[in-house]
Symmetry: C2
Subunit: 421 residues, 2 copies
Amino acid sequence: MSESLIERRQRLLGLNVPVFYEDPVHITRGEGVWLWDAAGRKYLDCYNNVPHVGHCHPRVVEAIARQAAVLNTHTRYLHEGILDYVEALTAKIGHGLSQAIMVCTGSEANDIALRMAQAMTGKSGIIATDNTYHGNTAAVSQLSTRREPIGGRAGHVRLVPAPDGLRPIGGSVEGQAEAFAREVGRAIVDLEEQGFGFSGMMLCPVFANEGLPSLPPGFLEPVLGVIRRARGLILCDEVQPGFGRVGGHWWGHEAMGFAPDVVTLGKPMANGHPVAAVVARPDVMEAFREAFGYFNTFGGNPVSCAAAMAVLQVIDEEGLVENARDVGAYLLDGLKALKHPLIAEARGTGLFFGIEFMREDEPAGTFTAEVVEAMRREGVLLNRLGRHGNVLKLRPPMPFSRQDADFALDALARVLKAMPG
Amino acid sequence: MSESLIERRQRLLGLNVPVFYEDPVHITRGEGVWLWDAAGRKYLDCYNNVPHVGHCHPRVVEAIARQAAVLNTHTRYLHEGILDYVEALTAKIGHGLSQAIMVCTGSEANDIALRMAQAMTGKSGIIATDNTYHGNTAAVSQLSTRREPIGGRAGHVRLVPAPDGLRPIGGSVEGQAEAFAREVGRAIVDLEEQGFGFSGMMLCPVFANEGLPSLPPGFLEPVLGVIRRARGLILCDEVQPGFGRVGGHWWGHEAMGFAPDVVTLGKPMANGHPVAAVVARPDVMEAFREAFGYFNTFGGNPVSCAAAMAVLQVIDEEGLVENARDVGAYLLDGLKALKHPLIAEARGTGLFFGIEFMREDEPAGTFTAEVVEAMRREGVLLNRLGRHGNVLKLRPPMPFSRQDADFALDALARVLKAMPG
């Protein structure tokens, strides 16, 4: 009897290493917005944001292959690659955030961002929402997990209620922005009373992991005011919304209309090559460099920079930020037009969508899981998010077309029709 | 006036981002053990361990290019790449360490290893030496830094005196192994008294950053006994010694003759592609997975695994572990034969060497720095290490030949002759 891939995986990677789907997909090839499994079956990828400019984009593949054949070394030598890239990247950001540290993962980027806030303030207290994900190092996982870590949750971390469009903090949609700000204000007072002081708040500007709630324009203004008045830093985690995902804007903070002190980038940055970065103002960078030693062996190597530069260029040349706006609006219209008794809300920004399912007043997490499985059977890969797992999550590669949107919409309509609730 | 590369670097990366050499090298191309600068000047690379099988090894470049063109996605889908690699890797390790988590940097690997020790023991106390480097996340940098972090040094960390061949702990070379073990024993008692308990000790089996001291066979036995009796885990950081660097053995712990509980790997693993791993027994892996959630978006992707697999295959096919032993012994003989009044000791293991310079009884750090600069002018890239920066560090790519060794030795002889001390 031959060992199955699942069995082999358990033997070599261990137990409790989750895979997607009840019948996991064995993917062998990708191209653009499409993936193929070992049996040759084709899937429309409505989930993966890492292959940002499309699976195996030839420009990115060529950049990696070319540079890997010429030189790949660390940044203790001089090389134009990292300088050209940081110059091109920071030109897209503004707000005086003109310097960057290049690292390998979003987790590493956020781990540094926390220390930047500490360096600027001399304090350690940090705030995040209670249903977020900022990565998996020991430090940032304190912000990401609902499990109590061994040794206890770090005293300097405060998690505040996450904004929610359907179950607003404070009970009313109109009052939620002020209620959220008050929660953060209370956490700041608590951190100061406990002697940690307040260094800043880390937030995803579209609250992606929180469930991608629909929030009115200016929603963040009260909370940002509270953070600034307490002299904390705004650490903007753009790992999910960045690089045009939100459509029409390069960054989530740009779409939301605010100026962060630190921006962290990851997943889509180099189309899957392990590249991430922290972008900051020179005063923040200088404070960090004075307070902490930091060097990243692989960070900013010429191959990583070539891959990241190719992604930036493809986004511009193929008009993917505009495509995310246009196709995003088209697909959102289609999602909103879907009729099903359990759909509580279809929402989205650019090419990032959530469909929230409720059964009466209860989040319909199990139903949503069944939709995910049924869509996989229809040849469309997507998943779910949010505290209750009742929000269908669509977040396709950026070259997603109207035709691809129609394919996904048709499949979803068929699936929902077969699942009356 | 045009902006120099150094000025541009300061503008884009910030102040205090160190480069090697007073006159930094602007490297543009690498091949095997050679690097070329922008002016076309060729340098013998006697420093870089990341391009383990040689700069731009065609097999590794081809593996990356080929897989990047086919598929690069995360491990929530099934893929043979990670399974084939983990199977091949763990077959080289033994001791029941049959499972792995693949990540992107040695820092991420060590950050996980600390949590594995916590998960196995339910305790948080951790010990390292006082002149080591285990990475740069907020958690592991507590073990790596001599600077007091903001918020203070974490209470659960104890740094014990690093072994030293010339200035032994306890004053005598013969008694150093027992003295080191007593220091660790005292730290364990202190951690237990302070309520943190003892989870384990993280150590580099050849104490590379500590200065690569010459230590007698069996040196680690007393300390390992102390750790095991206290039921702590031995977290073996193989980022520097691993993959045959020590010569004749694949791993530092193998050369030193002990069985670790957890092995962490990084830098040389994929010849510069950002790949690292934590290897552990199934019981350790299971405890970690039960206590902590962990997922790494880029970790174990098909391209990373293809790069790492190519490195493993090249090491075997080109006999690089044996080459490190043979050429290492040859070069060490040559280094030992160098005559200079300031040479206190020439030492090494495989293709990793230290030459310690002392002026009377004082570490000659400035002199060593001048040797590094003079060697750069001679076309040989190396650096220095150790607490006092008085140990010349040679750690070339693994395909280093006797001819390359002669080139380095001749240059070093010329430099030392011109620097009588």
